[in-house]
């Protein structure tokens, strides 16, 4: 039985950066530090070792081997069977001058996770590391998490009917290991660690890039004040988020749920009143 009665934005324990502490709010009294990913796309070389390592470790099935015609990206997007996705963007900055952006996308492990909020079976849960994990043996494939995710991360797998996504290698980090993608990354574009350390490191890297003459560099998902309460997996990008297929200003849908329930209650009361009043008047 879920003990959460208020939606995700309710007040609760906070972390060092002033953001909500999701593990404590989910009832872990004594828990390890919140773990996450910092994906620094400025050093991504597009090798896709992360995609392969993830598939291997998590035994994620093949999901289509077609050419998309989109640069070197034949993966397409995150899905039930793709938990790391490397985007390739070829840009013409000005005539004769082009650049490549490469970025390894992953589940954001949101502080305020819509997928977790809307899951009707409790299959989606918060781990002691503050990550969001789907328990495959509980999921009944209703697909609500798929439509709730503002990043298009969660998918339903055709072959088994269940929803699947990145677990932040729950089985590895519990044993003190680094998640498969970060372990395999040859340039440390994918960095794994306690979230507050990663946030500090990312600020340093951002300053470095700005000082080096790359004003386009920006962090995405690191701010606890953003629409999902800050992501557990955040990014350093070199262009607007939508260039990489990321939403520019995602807001967790359940923030509006109290208002939705109020309108639902008012509408239900109006229906009841109308139906009961319909019986009034003389019988013709």
């Amino acid at each position: 039985m879920s003990t959460r009665v208020a939606p995700a934005f309710a007040a609760g324990p906070t972390d060092a950066a002033g953001g909500l502490d999701p593990a404590a709010r989910s009832g872990y009294a004594d828990h390890p530090p919140r773990m996450g990913f910092f994906t620094d796309t400025s050093v991504c070389i597009g090798c896709k070792a992360c995609e392969v390592a993830c598939k291997e470790w998590n035994k994620v099935p093949e999901d289509g081997l077609e050419l998309t015609g989109m640069s070197y990206d034949n993966t397409g997007s995150l899905s039930a069977s793709t938990w790391r996705h490397v985007a390739f963007i070829e840009q013409i900055v000005r005539a004769g001058d082009s650049r490549w952006l490469m970025s390894s996308d992953v589940c954001k492990h949101c502080t305020e996770a819509a997928c977790l909020d809307v899951c009707p079976t409790g299959a989606l849960m918060r781990s002691e590391f503050g990550t969001v994990v789907i328990q495959d043996d509980v999921c009944n494939g209703c697909g609500y998490c798929v439509s709730a995710c503002p990043f298009g991360v969660v998918g339903r797998r055709e072959t088994d009917g269940g929803a699947h996504k990145c677990t932040l290698c729950y089985d590895r980090i519990g044993d003190g290991l680094t998640p498969a993608c970060a372990k395999a990354c040859p340039t440390e574009s994918i960095q794994f660690g306690p979230l507050d350390e990663l946030r500090e490191r990312a600020q340093g890297r951002l300053r470095e890039l700005h000082d080096a003459g790359t004003p386009q560099a920006r962090l995405y998902g690191e701010d606890p004040a953003d629409g999902v309460g800050g992501a557990g997996a955040f990014f350093l990008l070199l262009d607007e988020p939508e260039v990489y297929g990321l939403p520019p200003d995602p807001v967790v849908t359940t923030r509006d749920l109290p208002r939705m329930w109020r309108h639902v209650a008012t509408a239900a009361a109006a229906l009841a009143a109308a139906a009961l009043l319909s019986g009034l008047g003389q019988r013709s």
Binding site: T121, V146, H263
Partner: protein, 325 residues
């Protein structure tokens, strides 16, 4: 506000995932759940005022509609054998969880009410079940609005204030319409009243919803493609059914015609809203453009000096990346 025609995306691919809920299962359920919930209310109202023929018909409609709903919902699961996992938890943060519990309470009540009305047995238990179904019915008819709105699907979420009113009006239209079509006019008074009230309210709610999504930047999803056709057809049928019911509703043939039109209108509304959501999930512009506009407004509010800047420099900067959709 007209959204900018150009925006940036990753090769025009959607930002959010496509809705995996199937057609006709889920939009069909939105319609049938509404029909059932409002029919139970109509049955109680009819019974209280001594219209037993109408009460019996409405109870039968309710149990039929909710049985079909249950089948459709289980069939739509990726793992139908595990439908019972819906009852592992009670989660107010999940409209689907609340809905599962509502249906669990409602289904048996509607079943007993109908069985008692049709067989004439256990009348006291039948009356209690009728009352119980009428109490849970409004929840069954309305929670589906939160079910759709509590997603990242732009056309649904943007309409989260208006959808509950549209859905209960549509439910009243369907239940009233069905009573009007099936019951002799001299016994169908409450059905006629409910149908007229529902169809009128639906017109207002639909207009408010369209005004809202126009401001939010997702109106095109409701007005284009299949959603646009369905919403337009729903309006035509609704207005026709409403006019006939309000004027010639005491004529048997006219009542049957009006009732059928109103039931169809209600179903088309649900399918229209469902398709609008699908359309808005498939095209990245419905996600990117409104979010960009929101950021721009925030920027302008924080630094009024920049207020005159055009729609961010990124549009038009990278010719290769522009999505033409």
């Amino acid at each position: 506000m007209v959204p900018p025609a150009e925006f940036t995306s990753y090769y025009g691919r959607p930002v959010i995932k496509e809705v995996v809920w199937g057609v006709p299962d889920v939009p069909g359920y939105l319609f049938l759940g509404g029909l059932a919930g409002a029919s139970s209310l109509l049955a109680a109202s009819a019974e209280l005022t001594g219209r037993h023929e109408l009460a019996r018909t409405a109870k039968t409609a309710a149990v039929g509609a909710i049985s079909l709903s249950a089948l459709a919902l289980v069939q739509d699961l990726g793992r139908p054998a595990r439908f019972i996992n819906m009852l592992r938890v009670f989660k107010p943060t999940s409209p689907m969880s609340i809905g599962s519990w509502l249906l669990t309470a409602y289904g048996p009540a509607a079943g007993v009410a109908a069985a008692s009305a049709l067989t004439g047995r256990v009348p006291r238990i039948g009356r209690a079940a009728t009352a119980a179904a009428a109490m849970v019915g409004p929840g069954v008819a309305s929670y589906t609005a939160a079910l759709l709105a509590d997603t990242a699907v732009p056309a649904w979420h943007d309409a989260h204030r208006e959808l509950p009113y549209l859905f209960v009006s549509s439910a009243a239209t369907a239940a009233g319409g069905l009573g009007l079509a099936l019951v002799r006019p001299e016994h169908a008074g409450p059905a006629r009243n409910l149908a007229v009230a529902g169809a009128s309210a639906e017109l207002v709610a639909r207009n408010l919803l369209i005004r809202r999504v126009r401001r939010a930047g997702t109106v095109e999803a409701y007005q284009s493609g299949r959603a646009g056709h369905l919403m337009a057809a729903a309006e035509v049928l609704g207005v026709s059914g409403l006019s006939i019911a309000a004027t010639l509703g005491r004529n048997r043939v006219a009542a049957a015609l009006a009732g059928t039109a109103l039931v169809a209108s209600s179903a088309l509304t649900r399918f229209g809203v469902f398709y609008a959501g699908r359309i808005s999930a498939r095209d990245p512009k419905y996600t990117v453009v409104p979010q960009r506009d929101r950021l721009r407004r925030q920027d302008q509010a924080e630094s009024p000096a920049d207020a005159g800047l055009p729609a961010a420099g990124l549009v038009g900067q990278h010719g290769l990346l522009q999505c033409l959709g």
